[in-house]
């Protein structure tokens, strides 16, 4: 008997019992739906995060105080020893750190910025003038502050794109306008390009001012011995091939500057973009395993459901099987008929599941503006194949049973 014929018989049998067929598929539908939805969302997150990192600036190293493994600063036993502008200047010394192309330092704190009665609370980035260069990031209006502005501790500010929109809702030309940061007047000299959210917060919702101005006039958060305290130092490296060497040189230099003894742990952290991406990769990997486990369990449950219903179906249709055998169906014909029925059930369930998962992923996408779930063709194909294979596997036993029925007994079955 042709497979096509078996498929037609299977479809008719499933259509004859629509509600039961759908209920039977439910396990597969939910399993495949969950996997497609979560995988699509996972892919979307991965793409989003990778895009964000790509926007950070190429070949970038981040140097931050403390060990990441110690957890967030608030949970640490010992206060973290800060980084300083001196550290940045030392790293900028090419005789100590070869391959370093540019460095910048950034002190981050929260501030209130107001203009014309509007007040927003945003992150202030008090940076060195090389910041836009290192971060590969430009202004759309005006320009970033210069070395001169920095040296003179000028009260100038560059606005993040969203902060600009909030403070200048009618798109007024912002240059030379005055805003108050924590009550102090600052002159606007530029607006940054929109960058979107990323690790370390949404930089579009922030303001940028000289580190010198910030530490001497606004925050007064210098170290006890009068050095400019910074939150993070960025070092861009001339070539990605040199990143490990540069990382090593900076580690050496920092240990020396901070007087860390041989065998003692670093009290600072150097992270490359690749480290961050691979951390996210690990998280996503763990997520994928987790999803795989969910998928396996739900498909197993779905498969058992199919086996159960197929057994019921074989029993219910004993007479039909007997009749088919009486008019010439061979064991193989009956076997194939029921196998195809189980596989059809699972495959249709899989398709409904894919549609459901795709729909869920789209709904999630609409809730998060920039984030877009990615429904991969490979995920769809894989889950359909796996679902069908589950149907095949769990259909074997009922189909085998059906194929072995004796036609006389089957015809006599009440």
């Amino acid at each position: 008997m042709k497979v096509l014929e078996a498929l037609r018989i299977a479809m008719r049998a499933l259509a004859a019992n629509k509600l039961r067929s759908v209920l039977t598929m439910l396990g597969i539908i939910i399993g495949v739906g969950a996997v497609i939805a979560l995988m699509s969302i996972g892919r979307g997150v991965e793409k989003y995060v990778t895009d964000q990192f790509a926007g950070l600036g190429s070949n970038l190293l981040f140097i931050a105080p403390g060990q990441i493994t110690e957890g967030p600063p608030s949970l640490r036993a010992n206060p973290v020893r800060s980084l300083t502008l001196g550290d940045m200047l030392a790293i900028a010394d090419r005789s100590r750190v070869p391959h370093v192309a540019a460095v910048a330092a950034d002190f981050q704190t929260r501030v209130q910025v107001s203009r014309a009665g509007k007040t927003v609370t945003v992150q202030a980035n008090a940076t060195t003038p090389e910041y836009p260069l290192v971060r590969n990031w430009n202004t759309t209006i005006g320009s970033y502050f210069s070395t001169l502005d920095s040296d003179e501790r000028q009260r100038v500010v560059v606005l993040g794109s969203e902060t600009y929109q909030q403070l200048f809702p009618n798109n007024e030309y912002p240059i030379d306008q005055t805003v108050q940061i924590n009550g102090m007047n600052f002159r606007v000299i530029g607006v940054m390009e929109s960058k979107g959210g990323g690790p370390g917060g949404n930089l579009d919702r922030s303001v940028f001012l000289p580190l010198t101005t910030g530490q001497d006039r606004l925050f007064k958060q210098k170290t006890p011995n009068g050095e400019y305290r910074v939150t993070v130092i960025y070092a861009s490296i001339d070539d990605s091939a040199n990143i490990p060497a540069a990382q090593e040189a900076i580690t050496e230099l920092m240990r020396e500057r901070r007087g860390i003894k041989y065998l003692d742990q670093d009290d600072f952290t150097i992270i490359s973009q690749n480290d961050l991406i691979s951390v996210f990769g690990d998280i996503l990997g763990a997520l994928t395993i987790f999803l795989g486990a969910i998928a396996a369990i739900s498909l197993l449950v779905g498969g058992i459901g199919i086996m159960n219903i197929m057994l019921v179906s074989v029993t219910e249709r004993t007479r039909e099987i007997g009749l088919r055998k009486a008019v010439g169906a061979k064991r193989g014909d009956v076997l194939i008929q029921f196998l195809i029925e189980a596989m059809t059930l699972a495959a249709i369930g899989g398709m409904i599941g894919v549609a459901l998962g795709w729909g869920l992923a789209q709904i999630v996408s609409t809730f998060f503006g920039e984030f877009q779930a990615v429904v991969g063709a490979d995920a769809v194909v894989t889950s359909l194949v796996v679902a069908t294979a589950v149907g095949l596997f769990f259909g074997i036993f009922p189909a085998f049973r059906a194929s072995r029925l004796n036609p006389i007994d089957a015809l006599r079955y009440e």
Partner: protein, 267 residues
Amino acid sequence: MMPKNGRTNGQIPVIALRDITKVYQMGDVEVHALRGIDLEVYPGEMIAIMGPSGSGKSTLMNIIGCLDVPTSGTYELDGKDVSRLKDDQLAAIRNHKIGFVFQNFNLLPRTTAVANVELPLIYAGMGGRQRRKRAEDALRLVGLGDRLDHKPNELSGGQQQRVAIARALVNEPSMILADEPTGNLDTKTSIEIMELFQRLNQERGITIVFVTHNPETAEYCNRVVRIRDGLIESDETRQATAGIHAAKTHAVSSNGHEAVMVKERER
């Protein structure tokens, strides 16, 4: 036992049973359903098998129909020994050579008459279009040309049995076997079904063996075999005394692969 019919013209019997026994094992008890049956059926015969309940009629029919195999003895169908075949070989024989009609019709529910009749052709590997045409022809032959797409629950008992007969016919089998085909039908419908069998037998030369309890039904046959306790008690050939062609003395086989045969009937 009655003497065998005088068939001296060297024809190969459709059915040749020799010393067939069937023993069912029910736990520790052995049920001897058939105790040594010898029977030959020639092309174009219409035979009624009669006997009390439990005498082994159905068991015999199942063996003749290749639904079951004998415990001992040999069964030659169209000259070929089929008594020791495997499941799938028996299925192929049922498909090609045997049309079975059951007491309770055994139609697939929720399935149209034509689809029911197509069933044997599916397993014969015939393509969809040809299958449909053959099934329609068979339904027309049994007088259901206007009920092709009716489902069993839209048909009367007699019509359902006609569909079953069409299904038995559709593969142009060597014989049609019917186990109490009128057992579930009223007298009037029974007569219609018996006349249909008789017409198929006499006009198309199809060999028909059926089981019946009803002596009036047996009137349509020219041979009656009585069974008791798994043995043939009598085997009587005579002129059919009921039905449309009761007076005819000649049957002409026009059944494709069978040779044309003219046979003297004796009283």
